[in-house]
Amino acid sequence: MHNTGKVIIGLLIFLVIAAFPIWYAVAGGKTGDLPELEKAVKGENCVIDSVEMREIHMALLDEWRDEVVREDDRWYKSMTLDSTIEKSLTRSCLGCHTSKADFCDRCHNYLAVSPYCWDCHVDPKEFK
């Protein structure tokens, strides 16, 4: 083999980079812990089906933001609750899921999602 040393070093660098998730998991120690979410303080149902909510809450909030800010359309007719709720992150969402840190952030941190909700909104709890 020509330039054996250089080829071996190159291959080792390749293998170390390729195995990054494995040694990162060994060194970091955290692997299988799933995020645990705090239970809502009141009510049985969310404003839509909770499985669907897990999937599309970001799109729903995005829609609500546009409707409230641009069209002054502030009320949402919830099928699951059979009532009308306010389209408000701080009052409706955080009304039941009272802690941003124990609810929103659990999954978001787990998956390195940094939603820009909090560029404008505040978690009332953190500012007491």
């Binding site: 083999m1 390749f14 998956l111």
Partner: protein, 332 residues
Amino acid sequence: MSALFALLMIIILLLISIIGTEVLGLNYVFGVIIPYAAIALFLVGFVYRIIRWANSAVPFKITTTCGQQKSHPWIKHSSLEAPHSTWGVIGRMALEVLFFRSLFRNTKADLKEGPRLVYGPSKWLWAAGLVFHWSFLIILLRHFRFFAEPAPFFVSGLQSLDGFFQIGLPIFYITSVAIVAALAFLFVRRLNDPKLRYISLGSDYFALFLILSIAISGILMRHTGLRADIVDVKQLAMGLVSFHPNVPESIGVMFFIHLFFVSVLFGYFPFSKLMHMGGIFMSPTRNMANNNREKRHVNPWDYPVKTHTYEEWEDEFRDVMKAAGMPLEKEK
């Protein structure tokens, strides 16, 4: 024809993943066994091919005439285009790997009316190639949010840069558009030019289609109703990297399609032209220093030739030559 063949292969792969998970319910096979097999094949195959390449003979030092070679001190030499030191070679290789320096030199020849042959620059392949490769790298790095807990430092920076325009929620990434556009261009480019279409093989189209399928299935999963629950996805990914694999029940078919295409890409990699990822480092015109005048390069194919020098010849016939009065180099 070869493009249709490649398309057919992609459709077959798509059907395999759909039937395998939706009809036969082989979620464990598609979620654990195939990905492990693909990664093992990728690593072993990659190393094997690099070692085979490293074992091939290097008969000549190939100097490329891209720049002035280092010679006399008063002649300015080009240290990146014709490097004479290892650091220069590393610099040239970095330009090649990161910015496709030699593809930037690409030219085209057009036959105009007259007939007149016109040469000109041709940067489109370079531009689309660069966009595609960088997008693919950024997308790969972004995916480390699934493979590492906590997510590595570069993930959030890349995500916020890539989602700079904040279009929609989940935010539409710039690289999602860029990779699909670049791959579409690279495909149309092959079809558009008759010369290029003639030399394009099924494997050329297959690689394009496969990566395009991966990109599109990923985009569909992120932005349409064919969503996968990313908490489940991370659970599966972390199970794979920590060697405690488990497949959450609720993972949807779109995820399995995406994962199967990725597995095929990894498994196919060492057998395909995609090996240029490792091969670029083995290309002689890029990795050999242009130092022919400083160091002698010995051809390994040179075998010991039997020689008979004049000195030896004179030794053999000295007496006879002396007797005949012929001039000698050495008088004994």
